[in-house]
Symmetry: C2
Subunit: 192 residues, 2 copies
């Protein structure tokens, strides 16, 4: 892929944005396999050549699009104890996964199977997002290793519910996840 050399007409950054946006939108709609370069070009209002000038193939395009994208930031620590912060973070996480990432993750989940590069890229990004998340938990009331435990359990249960159970993550579920699972698990002073 020839990088832009600086000489000649420069690339239009708005087209980069349009391509990324279209790619992510279609990715969540139809999935990775059904995703076609032609559809992305059409949705972005861009010629196919403009895409092939930037990316070698679909995997490279998707990786770049997901790379660039940023979700909303996790909530700041609130006043109150561990439970209140857990409710805030889990609520945010559930909403985040449900609204945006689930189609994305589902699509990538499938797409990863055939493309090891894409798989590694996705896992790198997921880890990055998780790291930003576990910072939001107050350390005082936490059992040792609780942050890792949270990152291991909370997304898992949320994703599992949405995908395999096919149910939504309403307020009731968030409270259930916090009160029945996370809080007793992460609270300091729990003896094995």
């Amino acid at each position: 892929m020839p990088e832009p050399s600086g000489v000649g007409r420069p690339r239009d950054v708005r087209r980069d944005a349009a391509i990324h946006e279209a790619a992510l939108a279609l990715l969540t709609e139809v999935g990775y396999d059904q995703l076609s370069i032609e559809a992305i070009a059409a949705r972005a209002g861009v010629a196919k050549t403009t895409i092939y000038r930037r990316y070698r193939d679909k995997a490279a395009l998707v990786a770049a699009a997901v790379e660039q994208r940023q979700g909303s930031a996790p909530p700041e620590p609130v006043a109150g104890g561990l439970r209140e912060n857990l409710l805030a973070v889990v609520g945010w996480l559930a909403r985040e996964i449900e609204e945006q990432e689930i189609g994305l993750l589902g699509a990538l989940f499938a797409g990863m199977r055939g493309d090891a590069r894409l798989a590694d890229e996705m896992r790198r990004i997921l880890r990055r997002d998780q790291a930003a998340m576990t910072d939001r938990l107050p350390g005082e009331e936490l059992a040792p290793g609780a942050a890792e435990l949270f990152a291991e359990v909370a997304p898992a249960v949320i994703v599992h519910r949405i995908v395999f159970a096919g149910e939504r993550c309403d307020e009731r579920f968030v409270r259930h996840l916090v009160d029945d699972i996370l809080f007793p698990l992460l609270r300091k002073g729990i003896q094995s």
Copy 2:
């Protein structure tokens, strides 16, 4: 669609089996989207006509194949306490998911997106398998509602690890899942 009427040459059940087998094998190998009727026919050593006579389309075929298939049975309750039984069941579950179902689930996870019928069918089957699992836990040492909690947490964490973390479920992980998560969560006498 036309059911065999009884008159004329009967259908060969070995071909049904061959079709199911080929479908499941290819499903785990290439995924739902990449799965093609032609490839299934080739792998099964069967003409396309033979498949289209039985199933209207890909979704119907896959649903039937997954329906028929049975994994190994969960282990019988062993002597010893809750922890030993948890180790046995979780070890079996991890192996089951890792060996067979992960490719299957991944493929279906993606395929479900486009086909609501298939999605419902899959969830029905998953629930059936989970029900057979939670029977294997001894009721005496369990907190109330622990069986549902187990079904909610254990598969979620296992799947999440395999898919999103990209790591295997070795003996060490099974112990971690039981000792650090499930056992403290399910044990009777845990006070919120």
